[in-house]
């Protein structure tokens, strides 16, 4: 796979996720961690942006960070894969490099 992008900021508070989406090439993977997991939720002001990005990128979200924040897996946008830290490690190994959007 191409690049793995990690985003650890809420899309409501910062421009990290929108910058990442703008600058990720087709075929990239995007992993939402820490406060970035709010970007994975359906029915928010930013869901459309994320769903549009999913045409070109595979989107993942870190389950432990979702659970910590009380965000239900049922309400994650369809097609976003929920992974744990070991899945995070696997992604970094499968992708050619890792780019953090802090």
């Amino acid at each position: 796979m191409s690049t793995l992008h990690t985003v650890n900021k809420s899309p409501f508070e910062r421009d990290s996720l929108s910058s990442c989406i703008r600058l990720a090439v087709k075929g990239s993977a995007i992993l939402l961690i820490e406060d970035g997991v709010f970007g994975a939720m359906a029915g928010t002001d930013h869901s459309d942006m994320v769903q549009a990005a999913m045409k070109d990128a595979s989107v993942y979200v870190l389950g432990p960070d979702l659970a910590a924040r009380g965000m239900s897996e049922d309400r994650v946008i369809d097609g976003i894969q929920i992974i744990d830290y070991s899945g995070f490690v696997n992604l970094t190994a499968e992708c050619n490099n890792v780019q953090s959007w802090l």
Partner: protein, 130 residues
């Protein structure tokens, strides 16, 4: 895979150091190697042995020290960033005329070249920060 990790924020205030710890543990469990963890910006504050978190909370500094000793991980605190923020080892304290030091076991103070070298040597470079 051989990993090099950069941690840009101190303990507790941002989740970055926690996430980096979880990542390192999972990587080691999967049979990968953590070659070096480089602490930059406020990340240097992970390397003070003066922290006393509440008893019902995790001790992030000690977790780094333990992980490093169990898996032979090189924990490097950037010297320039450390000087701005008050992280000292005995040698540095002597050189700077500071009357004490606070570096934690398993951490060493060194230059930014260690970060670049980490990126060159490792298969993957990851950054955790704010």
């Amino acid at each position: 895979m051989k990993y090099s990790i950069m941690v840009n924020e101190g303990p507790y205030t941002h989740q970055a150091s926690d996430t980096a710890l979880h990542f390192c543990k999972a990587a080691l469990e999967a049979g990968h190697e953590i070659f070096r963890v480089f602490f930059y910006h406020d990340g240097v504050n992970n390397g003070t042995r003066f922290t006393v978190p509440p008893q019902d909370d995790r001790n992030i500094q000690q977790e780094w020290s333990k992980l490093a000793s169990a898996h032979d991980i090189d924990l490097v605190v950037c010297i320039a960033a450390a000087q701005r923020r008050g992280i000292m080892d005995a040698d540095e304290a002597k050189r700077q005329g500071i009357d004490g030091n606070n570096i934690a076991p398993g951490f060493r103070i060194s230059g930014l070249g260690q970060l670049i070298e980490g990126g060159i040597i490792a298969d993957r470079q990851l950054v955790f920060g704010d």
